[in-house]
């Protein structure tokens, strides 16, 4: 190596290069997440982010104490929601801290922009954390490759594009960084790194429910090391420090509370903690007792302890002291569990089992490098590599069970691919070593034939490298394409292309929400399916009955029942729940398939689970067993509130031969609606809002009033 370039030593050069590469990776990581901002605008995406955004606003406006004690009476009307105690505050506190810090520097940014750009900025931090992890388990080359991979891997981008303001946005960084700190503390046996692991574990607990993965994986790592006979004092120091501090810290989050002491999800960590103490004690005893005594002692002690431990665990679980596994957890092991027992979990698309193409879609090249990385880890099996292998196995299993857990798989795939790739680089990019060896073997001075020979030895190396470079370019290409085409739509705003290629923006959701926000009483209660609850609260700023925090199944079932009942029953129920407006999403005009009629079966199913006497799924299929909406629909379907609200007067605008563009069926010829009054319908009919009529002042039914007024004049149809 040449001595000095630009007056820098070799060491300084490499560190400068590393810094520059990491900087560029960060820029690429942030940059590739901005498609949606450039194409649409700086806007919060989807559903849950709207809740996070709203609570962040509340935190910024009212301060931490009020936020902590916030009882939100505008959600789950009339029950309300204790917000402070039922959320992971990490992301809100992070945003508020950044916001206040910038304010302090006289940079008056909008809190919305902080929220929108939080995930991309944290993805840059994730890349840096992955670099550290890669460097910890192999070397800087592997680290840089892993960082570059995670910077653009679609599996992670899917949850961290600008505007996707969700817990995962910061949680993946925390996950990777906590693991890095853990591995370092195990390698060094450092109490300081153990404590730092606990600190970041606490941050993770405050940010995402996925912290359970950490608190099970680290004990598993410890257990595996013990089982492999790799106990060391370093492990003891690291785990004891981490577990004690981390558990105490995690209990400070109200939503977690005392769960680490009594729920099954946390028992493995506690058990391992006990085991480590025992093993440590055994090692101590061995230093003072003789060989025979020791073996006897160990045999008896292990037997007794095992029996005792299992007995206590079973007893506590049976007595209910240790909470059994939750339904969501069961569905992790048995993919069919949710479908049978908890329709509300099964109704969410991101809880479905993963299809095979998804892996290729989200990870591309990495999915092949992943096993290679595992192989290399086995070959050089250090404590760290044991951890990587365990992480790989578990994350791979879980990601196959639930689509959204590909997210937790992505970091380890990137690290493993980084290791594999670094090994390839090490072997095939090392030209210097091979060349002199060749020369020495032939024992000849460098000549024309020698350089020819050198060329021959270089050729396979170059060929392999060109091949891999091609794969890497394709990977980059694939990632950009997936990000741009699949993961960069805000879903609040839709885009379509006209036949001439012109760009149309379909903004019906915001049109309706803003109409509600500006033209209804601030105390108005809006009934809609739970999917739109968070958006209604965030954009329309009105009280909702149910929202995406699906904690009360009965309440959701009641809303489902209102939608599935006939008009008069629904009217009575709606009035009893103080509902002022009913909002439905209808895609029949535009061909938007994610509308309420298509979700209606889930509503019916959930309602039937609670009110089996009033709602029956079978009655919504017609005699041929079809899910029809036109004149051939079943009576229950035609009379249901949902059907009426969606198709009310839709035929008048589509003409007598009109079609529903989603279901490709003929429209019902007449829809009578007397108890509800059209309040607003958006440009493309996607959102329809109805007012629940006041009781008639003369005590008549609304049907009688409508009959008295006579039929509504039919509109003139020009086409």
């Amino acid at each position: 190596m040449r001595d000095k370039v630009l007056g820098l030593s070799a060491h300084d050069q490499t560190s400068l290069l590393r810094l520059a590469i990491l900087g560029l990776i960060s820029v690429v990581a942030i940059g590739s997440r901005l498609y949606s901002v450039i194409r649409f605008e700086s806007i919060i995406h989807e559903f849950d982010p709207w809740f996070n955004y709203r609570t962040t606003r509340y935190l910024v406006d009212n301060g931490f104490d009020k936020f902590w004690n916030w009882f939100d009476e505008t959600a789950w009307y009339p029950l309300g929601r204790v917000v402070g105690g039922t959320l992971y505050p990490g992301i809100m506190v992070t945003s508020a801290t950044i916001y206040n810090g910038l304010r302090l520097l006289n940079i008056p940014v909008d809190i919305r922009n902080v929220c929108v750009f939080l995930a991309p900025v944290f993805s840059a931090l994730t890349a840096i954390a992955t670099y550290q992890l890669g460097k910890e388990v192999k070397d800087a080359t592997a680290g840089l490759l892993a960082a570059a991979f995670i910077g653009i891997a679609p599996g992670y981008i899917s949850r961290s594009v600008a505007g996707s303001y969700d817990n995962e946005g910061i949680a993946i960084f925390l996950l990777v960084f906590t693991f890095f700190l853990w591995l370092r503390s195990v390698r060094l046996g450092s109490a300081m790194y153990g404590a730092l692991t606990a600190v970041f574990y606490f941050y993770m607990v405050s940010a995402w429910g996925g912290y359970v993965f950490i608190i099970n994986l680290i004990p598993l790592h410890v257990f595996a090391l013990l089982a492999m006979g790799r106990y060391s004092n370093r492990l003891y120091v690291a785990y004891s420090t981490f577990y004690v501090l981390g558990t105490l810290a995690s209990m400070q989050i109200p939503f977690v509370g005392f769960q680490p002491t009594f729920t099954s999800e946390h028992m493995a960590a506690l058990g391992t903690f006990g085991l480590v103490q025992l093993v440590a004690f055994t090692y101590y005893v061995r230093t003072v007792a003789s060989q025979q005594h020791f073996q006897l002692l160990v045999r008896f002690a292990l037997l007794i302890l095992f029996v005792l431990g299992v007995a206590v665990l079973v007893l506590l679980t049976m007595r209910g002291v240790i909470a059994p596994w939750t339904g969501r957890f069961y569905s992790l092991w048995d993919t069919g569990y949710a479908k049978i027992h908890i329709p509300i979990i099964a109704s969410v698309s991101e809880h479905q089992p993963t299809a095979w193409p998804n892996f290729f879609f989200d990870l591309n090249l990495l999915i092949w490098l992943f096993p290679a990385g595992i192989y290399f880890s086995f070959r050089e099996l250090t404590d760290n590599h044991v951890f990587l292998i365990l992480y790989s196995i578990f994350a791979a299993y879980f990601s196959g069970v639930m689509v959204r857990l590909i997210l937790t798989l992505t970091p380890i795939v990137c690290v493993m691919a980084g290791i594999a790739m670094a090994n390839v680089f090490e072997t095939y990019l090392d030209f210097r070593k091979a060349a002199p060896a060749e020369l020495e073997a032939h024992d000849a001075p460098p000549s024309a034939t020698g350089s020819m020979k050198r060329y021959y030895t270089y050729f396979p190396k170059i060929a392999v490298m060109v091949n891999f470079m091609y794969f890497l370019f394709m990977f980059q290409w694939h990632c950009s394409w997936i990000t741009s085409s699949a993961y960069s739509s805000p879903s609040v705003v839709l885009a379509s292309r006209g036949p001439d290629g012109s760009h149309h923006i379909i903004d019906d959701f915001r049109e309706a929400y803003y109409w509600l926000r500006k033209n209804t009483e601030p105390s108005a209660k809006v009934l809609s399916w739970w999917d739109y609850g968070y958006q209604l609260a965030g954009m329309a700023d009105r009280t909702t009955l149910v929202d995406n925090n699906t904690w009360n199944n009965t309440h959701i079932a009641t809303v489902g029942k209102i939608m599935a009942s006939d008009e008069d029953t629904a009217y009575e129920l709606a009035r009893r729940h103080d509902v002022d407006y009913v909002l439905v999403i209808f895609g029949g005009m535009l061909g938007y398939s994610g509308d309420d009629i298509n979700k209606f079966l889930w509503m019916i199913r959930i309602a039937q689970g609670v009110y089996p006497d009033d709602v029956n799924e079978q009655s919504f299929f017609n005699r041929e067993g079809q899910y029809a909406i036109g004149d051939d629909a079943s009576a229950a379907m035609k009379n249901s509130l949902m059907h009426k609200l969606c198709y009310y007067r839709f035929g008048d605008v589509m003409g007598p031969k009109g079609f529903d563009r989603v279901r490709k069926q003929r429209l019902p010829t007449s829809v009578e609606l007397d108890n509800f009054e059209e309040a607003y319908t958006t440009e493309n009919w996607m959102v329809r809002i109805y007012k629940v009529k006041e009781l008639d002042s003369l005590g008549r039914t609304h049907h009688a009033v409508a009959k008295l007024k006579g039929p509504r004049a039919a509109a003139h149809i020009p086409f």
């Binding site: 915001r510 803003y514 059209e678 007012k691 003139h716």
Partner: protein, 531 residues
């Protein structure tokens, strides 16, 4: 059931009676106070009063009262004339001015202090004093024109109609012009834009009569006036033109010397004054009207002129970009600077009574608005429009005619003007085209400010749309050094950070010296490998 509703009706009637009695009581008290007033002003007499009310450019109402004033006192000389504005009109008052008819000399007008005290005093009429240019000698006569402008006083009647029915409006006020002086003869003429459907019938004196699109009440002589005291006059007419009220209107200017940039931001909370929708919104009809080009009462587009060199335009509301807006190319009208038209489409069409809130902004080159004093380089003079005008349109057409853009049918009932000067501006002076309700200076720390900057805040209730031709002048001193202050401060901070980072990386924080097993050995391994 029946018994209960009968009970309700009785209760209602009793309440209504009570209300009427209390109203009547109020009227007598008010007129009583007027009489008390008139005694102290005795001497001046209005020999003839002609009031003309112009309802052609609603929601702005132009009222002109022509009075012939005579000093009938034996010896007293009068230096001023007092104008009465009833309280309920005063809260909608946008402008008041008094001119001598001969020569058109504008007189100084000042509002008189209200006697403080109870609610009655609060709702008492407001008095304005116009100082005459030349004192009125005994026996002398003078003709005065009192010009007043009111906003949003005309209301829709009925308050609810179907969404494409005609809009009808009602002007309703006291039949007689209130004055502190005795009046010999008076007449009121009301002119409208649309067809008059009904008006109050008066039989005394000249009575009331309709002539095309105007209604005349009177003339009435002083003996009839006693009878007509407290009588209400009204005119109902059809008018389908759009009327909007800006409940809150804020215009902000940001001056940036660095970018040669004047940034303008306008915030509106708008309400359509049209009658509300009866029997619910009808989407089918609304969709159909697009194809049949038939009229309805929805305001669909908001138009505003911006300078032709405006750039970086945006329209945002509380939940994000409003993507349906457009801007036209350069347009030019004789005698005006070239301009562009921003066509803002609200997220939803505005029916009567519906609200819409948004803000929009753009940048223009600062040099067109800022003069630097050539003798004294520090002295800067900024000249900007007092308010921006907005036109709402219910037209279904894509391209809107230029004349429609100037109809300016938005009246701002609460207006705030904020001018943010650059950091380092001092000796700030503001010259206003007319007196305003309040003006103050506020400090503000904006992007990377170290000492903060000054914001001029002007607040005014009821600003008529035609005030957009008025300008505000702000003068301030700003030295060349202030221009370099910000980059220097930022550079200094960054430099300090680097120095600190450099110092920290050279400091050993641990108690023990670094273990040789870690970093350094790795590097050695690396270097041996590469050699």
């Amino acid at each position: 059931m029946l018994a209960q509703s009968v009970q309700n009706y009785i209760l209602f009637i009793v309440l209504a009676c009570l209300l009427l009695v209390s109203q009547a009581h109020g009227f007598t008290r008010e007129s009583g106070s007027g009489r008390v007033g008139s005694s102290s002003y005795s001497g001046l007499v209005n020999t003839n009063v002609i009031r003309t009310i112009d309802l052609k450019s609603l929601p702005t109402v132009y009222e002109q009262v022509g009075v012939v004033v005579q000093n009938e006192h034996d010896s007293k000389v009068f230096k001023s004339y007092t104008v009465v504005v009833p309280y309920f009109k005063q809260i909608h008052l946008a402008h008041i001015g008094v001119r001598e008819r001969k020569g058109g000399v504008e007189l100084d007008v000042t509002q008189l202090e209200k006697p403080s005290g109870n609610d009655t005093a609060l709702s008492a009429p407001v008095l304005y004093r116009a100082t005459l240019k030349r004192a009125l000698q005994p026996g002398e006569k003078i003709s005065l024109n009192i010009d007043t402008v009111y906003l949003n006083t005309v209301l829709p009647r009925p308050a609810m109609v179907k969404q494409s029915d005609d809009q009808k409006w009602e002007w309703a006020e006291d039949l007689l012009v209130s004055s502190v002086y005795p009046t010999r003869k008076q007449k009121t003429v009301v002119n409208t834009r649309g067809v008059i459907t009904s008006f109050a019938k008066v039989t005394e004196g000249g009575g009331s009569s309709k002539n095309g699109r105007s209604v005349t009440f009177g003339p009435f002589t002083s003996d009839m006036m006693a009878k007509l005291e407290g009588v209400q006059a009204n005119v109902r007419f059809r008018d389908n033109s759009e009327q909007l009220e800006a409940l809150t209107h804020r215009r902000e200017y940001f001056v940036s010397h660095w970018g040669n940039d004047l940034n303008i931001l306008e915030y509106y909370a708008l309400r359509n004054r049209a009658p509300a929708i009866e029997d619910g919104f009808d989407k089918v009809k609304q969709t159909m009207s697009k194809f049949t080009k038939s009229r309805d009462n929805f305001v669909k587009t908001l138009l505003l002129k911006v300078p032709a060199d405006a750039r970086q335009m945006y329209v945002v509301d509380e939940i994000g970009n409003v993507s349906t807006s457009a801007v036209t190319g350069r347009r030019r009208i004789k005698g005006e600077l070239p301009f562009k038209v921003m066509q803002l489409k609200p997220r939803y069409p505005l029916a009567g009574g519906w609200n819409y809130t948004w803000w929009h902004g753009y940048s223009v080159p600062l040099s067109s608005y800022l003069r630097i004093d050539s003798r004294n380089g520090n002295q800067h003079l900024l000249r900007v429009p007092f308010i921006g005008a907005l036109t709402g349109s219910a037209s279904q057409e894509e391209e809107i005619s230029l004349s429609a853009i100037d109809s300016h049918n938005t009246a701002s009932s609460n207006y705030e003007l904020r001018i943010t000067l650059p950091e380092g501006a001092s000796n700030v002076n503001v010259h206003l085209p007319f007196a305003v309700d309040s003006m103050r200076m506020e400090p503000l720390s904006y992007y990377f400010d170290s000492t903060g900057r000054t914001v001029v805040v002007i607040e005014q209730r009821n600003v008529a749309p035609d005030s957009n031709k008025e300008y505000v002048l702000v003068t301030y001193s700003y030295s060349a050094l202030s221009l370099w202050k910000k980059p220097l401060v930022i550079a200094g901070v960054i430099f300090t950070l680097f120095v600190m980072a450099s110092a920290i990386s050279r400091t050993q924080l641990g108690l023990l010296p670094l273990k040789n097993g870690n970093a350094s050995s790795k590097i050695m391994k690396k270097s041996t490998k590469t050699e």
